[in-house]
Structure formats: C-alpha cells, structure tokens
Amino acid sequence: MSAVAAAPASGRRLSRGARLGLLLGPGFICVVLPFVAAMALLGAYSLNLRDTTGAGLGLSVWSQFLGDPFNWRVIWSSVQLAALSTVITILIAYPTAAALLRVRNRFYLVVAYVALFSPLLVSVISRSYGWLLLLSDTGFVNQTFGLFGLGPYRMVFNETGVIIALVHVLLPYAVLPILNIMTQVPPVYREAALDLGASGWTVFRQVTLPLTLPGVIVAAEIIFALSISAFVTPSLLGGGRVLTLSRMLYDNIGLIEWGMAAVQAIVLLTTALAVLFVLERVNRATHAARQD
C-alpha cells in the first residue's frame, strides 16, 4: 500500500529466491542432479531394464539376490567389518586428537599433522602393497614378533589385514572432526569438574566425553560410510578371501551384470544410510541432553 512497500526490490538487486538459487546452483548441479539420476538408473536397472538374463522386467533380480542366504552373510560381514574398522579408528583417533590439542610447539605440530595425513598422500594401491609386505607371514611385523619367539600371525588375506589397512588410511578423517569439537570445548569445564572433586577419569567420563560426543558421532558416520564402500583395500589385503558387498558389486560391474550390480548398489547404500540414521538418532538424543 504505502510507497515504501510498493517500491519493488528493483534495479540490480536480485530477489531472495534468485540469490539462493545462485548460491545453491553449482552444488545442486554437481551433486544432487547426478545423484538423483544415478538412483533412478539404478532403480530401473535393478528391475531388469538392461535385461541380460532374459527374465523380463520385474523383481526377479531382487528375489534372486535376497533369496540367497550367502548374500545375507556377505551383507552382515560387510557391516561387521565396517563397524569394527569404525570402532578401532575412533578408539585411536580420540586420544590422537586429545594429544594434538595439547601440542604447543609449532614444529612438532607440523610433524604430527604430516604423519597423520601421510596415508592420504600415497595411492591406495602402493599403500595396500606396502601393508602386504609389512604384514605377510615373512614380513617385517612377523619377523619382529619372531625375535621374541612369537608368531607368525596371519595378518594378510583375512579381516585383520583389511582392518589394519582401513584404520590406517581412515584415521585422519576421524581425527579432524574430533579435534574440531575438542577445540570448541573450553578447558574451564575440565577445571570446574576437578574443582568439584572429580578425578581425571571422572572428568573424562562425565564432562569431556559427553561434550565431545557429537564430534565422535560425526567421525563414526564418515568412517563407517567410507569403510563399508571401500573395495580396493579389502580386495588387495583380503586377497579375494574377504568378500564384501562393495567387492561383489565391483565384480558384477566387471561381469556386466547390470541388474545384480544395481541391486547390490542399492542394498549397499541402504545399509550405509540405515547405520547413519541410527548414529544420527544417537546424536540427536545426546544433543537434546546437552541442551544447546
């Protein structure tokens, strides 16, 4: 009505919607569009759109996959492997982050960061072969054990080797979010708990851990998603004896089994999302209790 209200947000000024569109546009085009397209394709393929078996359009691939107990065992062992890798990574990442937080000397800090991120600088292939050499029955680690009359322990071509190699490369992804939240928790909470009579362990359990838990959950989400979809490391260090969902999926792509690959891709994604969903729920619950 008034002159002010009637004056349009004219001239060069973009409307709110247009500005939002410009900001979100690139991300939308690069991430959301391909994702939706890929999901649509996967869905279609899983219904036998690219028929290679002559069974015709339908749920035949789904029933073939889900009807085989072997596949369920692979799904379950993939989840277990990813969960175990996640737990071990977090258990190592948490004290690592706590230690990094306390490093004051710049030089040592740089050294620590380089060491932490070094796995990411090496290609997955050479890294995995490096681990094979270290962990094989006659490798450096078993030779060292041998000096003490121990071993040799089987650490390659089984879950142990896969987990060791996964934890190694995933550690930095877990340290960063945990370190990030630790820097946001002021040391005064620790001091307050000590002043009220808490021991170091009680401070950790009742104050530090609850306050840093959101970072731990973010780290767990990242590590789980990365480790359940990893296939090079499980393939090389598992030597074909550790079968994971992602590995099966990869093989089916190689075999041009589009329908089966699509079903497995969807199952893999669903499994990962289900675990993320649970973790997110835990996060919410603790957030609510943390009353931000």
């Binding site: 001091e191 708990a193 002043d195 009579g197 808490a198 009680t202 009742q206 009353q291």
Partner: protein, 360 residues
C-alpha cells in the same frame, strides 16, 4: 582464626613474575576481596588457592595445613569461575549435585541439599531447567550454588558479577553478602570494581602489578590509604608530592602552586619527598571561616552526580584539583573563580607507588 594464609607466594609464568611475594591472611567467616586493575594477578592468586596453579615459591595454608602439593580435587575450596563454566549437558539440579554425587552421598541427602541450596539462591523450582535457558543472573546463582553446596571451607569467586548489567550486579551483591553471612563461609572475592569491593568486603587487599599494596577494611583503605596507588584506585584523590619543611609544630609540603600545611606528626620526618593524598570531599568551596589551607581556583569542569557535584578546579600552575561538594545549591558555572580551603587534618601522608589510572 586464619582460614587461608599465603606466605611469600610467588608465581612465575615463563619469564614473567605475575605474582610477587604475596603475604595474606584471611580470617574464618570473613568476606575478603582481592581488588586491583585487570592483569594485576588476582585470578592467578585465586587459582593458586583453588589448586589450578602451583605457586612457584612460598607457602599456601588452608586451615593450618600446607596446600602447595594438595591436588585441586582434594582441597577444601570451591571456585566460582569468571566465565561460570556451568556444564551445558546437565540441568540445574545435576549441575549443583555434581560435587555431591562425586562424594558418594545417598540420593535423598543429595536431593535435600540441592533443594536447600536452590532456596538459598532463590531458584526453587528450577531443578529441571537447562542451564542455557537461564538468564545471566540465574546462571550466576547456579554457579554459586554449585560451589557452595559442597560446604567448602573457603569459597573463591572470580569476578562473578562482571558480565551482568549494573542493576543486576547491585542486587546480586546484596544476595551474595546475605548468603555469605547466613552460611558463615569464608569468601575470597576477586574484582576490579572498587565500589563492589568496598560494598561487600569485611577486609580487602589492593593488588597492583603482582604485589599487595595494602590490606585493611574498606574504611581504612579509603581514609588511610597507604600508597598513592591505593589512594587513587579507591575513590578519587588529589596527590600532592614535594619536600616537607618543618616549623613550629607544622609541616609544609609544596608542590607547584600548591602548598599544604599539616601537623608535623602527620608528615614523615625523613627529609625525602613527601606524598600527600587530599580527598576531593575534604576541600571546602568558599569557606566561611578561614582554614589552615587555601588556594584560588577557577571551575574547569562540572560533573553533576546527583547527591554531590564533582568539580575539576584549575589552579594557578594549570593543574587540576578534584573537589567534591554536596549538591545542596545549584552547581557553580564553568569559569567561576572560587577560593578553596581545607583543614590541617585533611591531607594524609602516603607512600609513593605507581599511580592507578583514572578509570571512570
């Protein structure tokens, strides 16, 4: 009986001597303040008493026991932090109960003591509130309750009202005093606010650059300031420095255009420089009867404070004298020429130290 004793306590951080040989003795049940400008070492001193810092040298005693090597979680003290540090993941009840639970008290006992404490800080009914939902003043009271519920021998408070608005500060000051009186707990209270320290304290120590300048009651501090720092930090004063000459039972200290006469007993007998503190309210404007001291001045600035008026009066050598008068007549206009006078007992002799900056 002394509750907290510091003997020649020092704290060095790196190459910086932050606390320089402090001697203090705080009595049981006393409201004792550490007052001083920002950065003078108050927090560091308090943290040493709490056990968050270890003295570099010297002895710290609480109830007669040496505490230097007793870890923080085994000291009979509790600290109210400057930034409160209420646990954000716990509600009001669990924050206050934190220390009691660690002591392993039975649940009903914990509930009873937390309830009592909520009454003391006027927060009954707030048990299940999230601490982040509380106002600044309420959070403040939770912080005090969380410390006080443990019945510490000594409660340490680090500028607990600093972040609040003035009105709330004044109200919580009265509450703090009431809580301190009703529980009989020894309070050691850190503040840079001289008005707050004067209002609350039974005794206080004024600190400056890591040293204690003077310890005494608020009135002592004001009326018998020991040093120029204390005189100018507590309230406002005119500092006069010069050589004293003695004649006929009188001493005369001359500083530029100012010449102050006082009883020779009140001026130090040594021949060095004498420093005097002359409080603004001891100076009389246009005295009706002749006074021992007098000087001509003109009004340079007028600050109307309500009950009183603060004048900045310029004297012959261009310097400013603060004069404070009751506002029982309309204030003098700027530029008015006046005669000022004061008695022989108005100026007190003090020790010269760094002068506190004029903080307003």
């Amino acid at each position: 009986m002394a509750d907290v004793v510091l003997k020649a306590v020092e704290k060095v951080f790196g190459s910086e001597r932050v606390v320089k040989s402090i001697d203090l003795s705080v009595n049981q049940g006393e409201f004792f303040s550490l007052l001083g400008p920002s950065g003078c070492g108050k927090t560091t001193t308090l943290r040493m008493i709490a056990g968050l810092e270890t003295p570099t040298s010297g002895d710290l005693l609480i109830r007669g026991e040496r505490m230097n090597d007793v870890p923080i979680n085994r000291r009979p003290t509790n600290l109210v932090f400057q930034k409160l540090a209420l646990f954000p993941h716990l509600d009001v009840f669990d924050n206050i109960a934190f220390g009691l639970k660690l002591k392993g008290l039975p649940r009903p006992e914990i509930a009873r003591r937390v309830d009592d404490m909520l009454d003391v800080v006027s927060l009954a009914g707030f048990e299940r509130r999230r601490v982040t939902e509380l106002s600044g003043g309420q959070q403040q009271r939770v912080a005090i309750a969380r410390a006080l519920v443990n019945a510490p021998a000594v409660l340490l408070l680090d500028e607990p009202l600093g972040a609040l608005d003035l009105k709330l500060q004044l109200r919580l000051q009265r509450e703090l005093k009431r809580i301190q009186r009703s529980t009989g707990t020894t309070f050691i209270y850190v503040t840079h606010n001289q008005a707050e320290a004067l209002t609350l304290s039974d005794r206080l120590a004024v600190m400056n650059e890591g040293r204690v300048e003077q310890i005494g009651s608020p009135a002592d501090m004001y009326l018998h300031s020991a040093t120029s720092f204390v005189a100018s930090f507590i309230g406002r004063t005119n500092l006069i420095a010069g050589e004293a000459t003695f004649a006929g039972g009188e001493a005369r200290v001359t500083d530029g255009a100012l010449s102050v006469v006082l009883d020779d007993a009140d001026a130090p007998a040594d021949n060095g420089r004498t420093v005097l503190s002359l409080r603004p309210e001891r100076i009389v404007i246009a005295p009706k009867t002749p006074m021992a001291n007098g000087i001509d001045a003109t009004v340079a600035e007028v600050e109307f404070l309500g009950a009183t008026v603060l004048y900045r009066m310029r004297i012959a050598d261009g310097r400013i004298l603060f004069v404070q008068a009751l506002a029982d007549t309309p204030p003098l206009a700027e530029g008015t020429a006046v005669r000022l006078g004061w008695g022989k007992d108005a100026a007190v002799s003090i020790r010269s130290t760094t002068v506190a900056e004029d903080v307003e």
